[in-house]
């Protein structure tokens, strides 16, 4: 049994909220820099140039990369030999978000009720996914995500007969419908299998996987490559104004599913695909 004080959780989450919103991870930033060099479309190239400049200004002048600093998704993997002392863990996570968004001058974008729509003014609550794992470590991933792209995400309850073609059509249809609204170039997270909520969780989780990494399963890795190529032939391009840089990457996660179904979720993320992971 290892005891972890929740003050450590609060401090780390605070720092990670700030870090995620001021600097993109290198896998994402390098793809944007590379795309600016290879894009042939004049407007697309110009937009990518602005995105490269934007990343530099954000980092050097300490201005958030995007004004939509997101609703904060937190993946918390807790080793089963961990004992938390201090606060209730959920309160600690939200306290970390509260401090991060206040001290980091990040936007408070959460309303307390979806219909009354009164801003909570501290960006809480976050959306927290707990997972119990082996061992005595706590792994925290923070993924603040804007809603321009979140709004363009979709779930398809496909039939087994739809097969892999159905999955491809679902992904491409979602990207086409997202068009310019999701701030392309986008990152595409796909969850296949599980049930209605599991596939959406997998799609979100897929967005936190490093760009350029592949699924361990060869047929899924091949599907990632095939869809990446197909998406970038849609000519949506940066800003939705044409070009071959529509997606910076696509990650697919899978899970066993029921004999009667094949759920597919597509979580679209803009180019500001923020995620930070720390292990405590």
């Amino acid at each position: 049994m290892r005891t972890v004080n929740t003050d450590i959780i609060i401090d780390n989450i605070k720092e990670m909220c700030i870090e995620a919103n001021y600097e993109l991870s290198s896998d994402v930033s390098e793809r944007i820099i590379q795309a600016e060099k290879t894009e042939d479309n004049a407007i697309g190239k110009r937009i990518l140039g602005q995105l490269v400049e934007n990343m530099d200004i954000a980092k050097n002048d300490r201005i958030p990369i995007c004004q939509d600093t997101g609703m904060t998704t937190v993946f918390l993997k807790v080793g089963q030999d961990v004992h938390f002392e201090g606060m209730y863990i959920e309160d600690a996570v939200n306290e970390g978000i509260r401090r991060g968004y206040e001290e980091g001058y990040l936007r408070k974008s959460v309303v307390g009720d979806p219909l009354d729509r009164i801003n909570t003014k501290d960006n809480t609550p976050g959306i927290i996914h707990y997972e119990i794992t082996k061992g005595d470590k706590v792994e925290i991933t923070i993924a603040p995500k804007g809603f321009g792209s979140e709004n363009m995400s979709r779930v398809y309850m496909l039939k087994p007969a739809d097969a892999v073609e159905g999955v491809k059509n679902a992904v491409l249809e979602t990207v086409r419908l997202a068009g310019p609204n999701a701030c392309p170039p986008i990152v595409v997270g796909v969850g296949i299998g599980g049930n209605f909520e599991k596939c959406t969780y997998l799609a979100k989780k897929a967005l936190t996987r490093k760009l350029g990494s592949h699924s361990d399963k060869p047929h899924i890795a091949a599907l990632e490559d095939e869809l990446y190529e197909a998406i970038n032939k849609l000519d949506i391009g940066p800003g939705g104004l044409g070009g071959k840089t529509t997606a910076l990457g696509i990650n697919i996660e899978t899970y066993p599913t029921h004999i009667a179904g094949m759920p597919v979720a597509i979580n679209i993320c803009c180019h500001v695909n923020r995620h930070v992971t720390r292990t405590i």
Partner: protein
Amino acid sequence: MEQHVVTPLTKDKVKDLHAGDYVYITGTIYSARDAAHLRMYNSAVAGEDLPLDITNQIIYYLGPTPAKPGQVIGSAGPTTSSRMDKYTPTLLDMGLTGMIGKGKRSSEVIDSMKKNTAVYFASVGGAGALLSKCIKKSKVIAYDDLGTEAIREMYVEDFPAIVVIDSDGNNMYRDY
């Protein structure tokens, strides 16, 4: 074609702007997004005055991050325009001539833009740090309780945007 646009944006100026033009906007513009649009719309429907005269003005669909000490404004990129579509024809009928955002507009908005001689600009989504550098002054003038969604009067210099839909209805966005 590159064009410099100075506000107020009269209808004569709007007519000179064409889909595909790169523009640099200088002058006073106003921020408003979802919640502020709902309030303005409700005021308009009730026959009440809006908190600002929108005649020949540009609304920027924006909810910035908080300014740090010494900064005019925080990160300040565009939000998705289609969420404002429901309210936009009413504002265009009241004299609004320009909108800055990102993403597609409804056919109702485009028809109203043609009828009212208005223009829709896109700025680069996710470039909030870069765009904030063009905002030289900012103050909240209405709906302060809405926080980031309050209406701000902002002075911008050479704010970069692209004419995506012009007053003839020409549209750079298409179906993919």
